[in-house]
Symmetry: C2
Subunit: 410 residues, 2 copies
Amino acid sequence: MSDYTSRARAASRILAAAGDAAKAQALRGAAAALRSAQADILSANDADMIAGEARGLTGAMLDRLKLDAARLSGIAQAVEQVAALEDIVGLEIDRRTQPNGLVMRRVRVPIGVLGIIYESRPNVTADAAALALRSGNAVILRGGSEAVYSNQAIHQAMVCGITEAGLPADAIQLLPTQDRAAVGAMLRAQGRIDMIIPRGGKSLVQRVQDEARVPVLAHLDGICHIYVHADADPAMAKAIVVNAKMRRTGICGAMETLLIDQDYPGAAALVSALIDAGCELRADDMLMELDPRTVSASAEDWDTEYLDSIVSARMVAGVDEAMAHIARHGSNHTESIITSDAAVAARFQAEVDSAIVMHNASTQFADGGEFGLGAEIGIATGRLHARGPVALEGLTTYKWLVHGTGQVRP
Amino acid sequence: MSDYTSRARAASRILAAAGDAAKAQALRGAAAALRSAQADILSANDADMIAGEARGLTGAMLDRLKLDAARLSGIAQAVEQVAALEDIVGLEIDRRTQPNGLVMRRVRVPIGVLGIIYESRPNVTADAAALALRSGNAVILRGGSEAVYSNQAIHQAMVCGITEAGLPADAIQLLPTQDRAAVGAMLRAQGRIDMIIPRGGKSLVQRVQDEARVPVLAHLDGICHIYVHADADPAMAKAIVVNAKMRRTGICGAMETLLIDQDYPGAAALVSALIDAGCELRADDMLMELDPRTVSASAEDWDTEYLDSIVSARMVAGVDEAMAHIARHGSNHTESIITSDAAVAARFQAEVDSAIVMHNASTQFADGGEFGLGAEIGIATGRLHARGPVALEGLTTYKWLVHGTGQVRP
C-alpha cells in the first residue's frame, strides 16, 4: 500500500508545481496517444468482451464495456476538451490586507492524491485521469475486473502521453484488479489518499461510503422530485415533467417522483402525458382516479430510484406538504418547482435542502456541462467541500499565503 | 441518539430560514442572559472548581476551568462580537447564465447540524454555540465532565437568550456528561450530525479523528517551522523567530522547529537570542557548536509539538532541504520563510503543502482574528472543505439555485 500511495504523493508534488502549459500539453499528448493506440485498445477491449460474454454479463453490462472506433474517438476528444479547460491552480480567491500590513491571500491548490473506484465503463479511466491531472492531482485508479484489459490499454496510452510531456508516470496509476484487497486498502488509506470518488452503481457507492475512512465525494441516490404548484403554466409543466422523466431515464438527474398540487387544474393531463410517453405511473389514490392506466404506489415507491420508465406520483396539499415529502424521501440531489408564483418559488428554493434546487426547469439539467463547469467528475450530495456537479474546482482546495515585511504579533 | 439529533435537524431547518436580524438579536440576547446570570454561572463554576480540586486536577487544568466576573464578561463580549459579524447565509458566490437562458446561482447555506466535543474550558460552550448559530447551524455540545455545572449554567443562559428572540431551544443542545457513550454515538452519527469539531488536547483530537464516521474539522498537531534563508535580514529574523516561539508557547501557531540555512551568517546570534529569551534549544551537531547552552536533539524532537519554551533547531543546505524536512516532519499547519529573496520566497510558498505558508512574518499570526475573519472555531489542517483558520464561512456550504423559464434538456 505505502508503495504506490507514496509514489502518488511524490508525483502529486510535481504536478502541483507544474504549470498550465505542461498539464495541457500532457493531456493533448494523452489524447493523441489514445488515438494512435486505437488498434491495441480495441483488441484489448475485444478480449474483455469475450471474457464478459463467457462470464455471462448482461447485454447492458456488455454495452457499457464495449469500445469501437467512434467511442474511442469520443474518449480522446473528451480528454482534449479537458486539456482546453482553464487552469484554476494558483487562482487567487481571496485577498485581505490587515492594518499591520500583512497581506493574506487564499489561492487554489490541488487536493493531492485522488482515488477513483469504478465499474465496467473503460472511459472512466481516461475521463477521471484527465480531470485529476488538469487540476494538478495524482490519481490512483481501480477499475472493474470486467474491463481489465481495456483499462490497461487506455492507461498505458495516457501514461505514454503525459510522460512525453515531462510529467511523471506515477501521476496516473492503475491498480491491478487481481488484488481483491486493494479496494479496502484504498478506503482505509487516510492521509495517503486525500479523496475517494466512486463511479458506478448503488452497491459500489454504498460500500465505499460505509467502509471509507478517506473522505468520499459521491451521491448514493438521485431521487429527484418535481413539484407542480397550483400556479404552474400547464404547457410548461407538461413539457418539463415529460422531459425530466423520459429524455433519459437512466441518469441520476431523472425525475423519480412527481408531486402535484391538489389545486393544480391540469393534473389529469400531466398524468396522461407521462403515460402516453411510455411511462409507468405509480400513483396515490387521488391520482389513480384521473387515469385508469395508473398503478397503485406502495410505500417503498417513494424511496425508490427507478432509473427506468417508471415514476411515482402523488397529490400534495400545497408547498409545505411538498417540501415535507422531499425532506423525508429525497436524496438531496436535485428538485424542481414549476410555478408562476415567484414568492412560492423563492420559498421552495430557500427551504429545500438539496444540492440543486430548480425553478421552471427540467431536473435533467443536473450536469456539470449544463452548468457551464466543463466536464464533471460526478455529482455530490454530501454537505461538505463540494455540492452538486463537481468539476475542476471541486478537485482543488486552497491554501493561505501570508506576505509580511517582518511583522511580529504583539 | 435519534431523538436529539432529529430535534437538532428540525431546529437547523428553522435556523437556515431565519434572517440576519433574528440571529443577531438572539446572540445579543444570549450575551445579555450570560451577564444577568452571572451569579448562577459563577456559583456553578465554584461547584466545578471544588469537585476539580477534590479530583486532583492540575493547576493548569483548574485555571482553564476557572471563571470569574472578568472572564464571564469576556465570554459575553465574545458572543456580542459574533452577533455583530456580517451574515453570510444566502450570499451569492457564483452566477452563470447559460446560452439556453438558465441562470445558475451558487449561494451560501448553513451546513446543518454541528457537533462540538471539547474539554475543560467552559467558554467553548458559548463561543462554539455563538458561531454555529451565527452561521445558521444547530449545534450539539458535548463538554468535559470537569466543567459540567459551568457548562449547564452557560448553556441555560444562551438558550434563554435565543428562545426570547423566537429561535428554537433545540438550536443549542448540551449533552449530559454522565452519558459516557455519547461521544462515540456522536462520532458515528453520519447523516444526523454533519460535521464534528473537537476542541481540546491531542488525545481528544486523535480519538475523534480515529473513530469518527462523521466528517471532522480539526488539526492534530501544530508543528510549525520557520526557515531562515541565507538572504534573511538578521534583525528581522531575530525578531520573528523569538516572537514565533516565545510570545505564547502554548498556541498551535507557535514555532516548534527552526531551520537555519548553512549560508545564513547570523545563525549564532539567532540561537543565542532564543536561549537568552528563556528557550531550551535542542539542536543538531552543527548548531550545537554555536552556543554551549544548546542541548542535543533526538530523532523524536523533529516530530514533537512542545507547546512550551523548547524549540528544535537544525542547519539545512538550502531551501530544498528545508522543504524536504517540512514535508517529512510538518503537520500541514503553518510555516514561514524569512528571506529578502522574492524568488525563493515564492518557491517556498508554492511548494510547501501547509494550510498557511508565510513570508517574513511570525507563525503566531495563524489565527482567524489576525486574518480578519472574525472569531474562529479552530484551525483545520485537512485538505477538504476548509483549511487554515475556520470562521463563519467554514461553517457553511452552498447550494445551486437554477432559475428557468420552462427549459427542457434537448
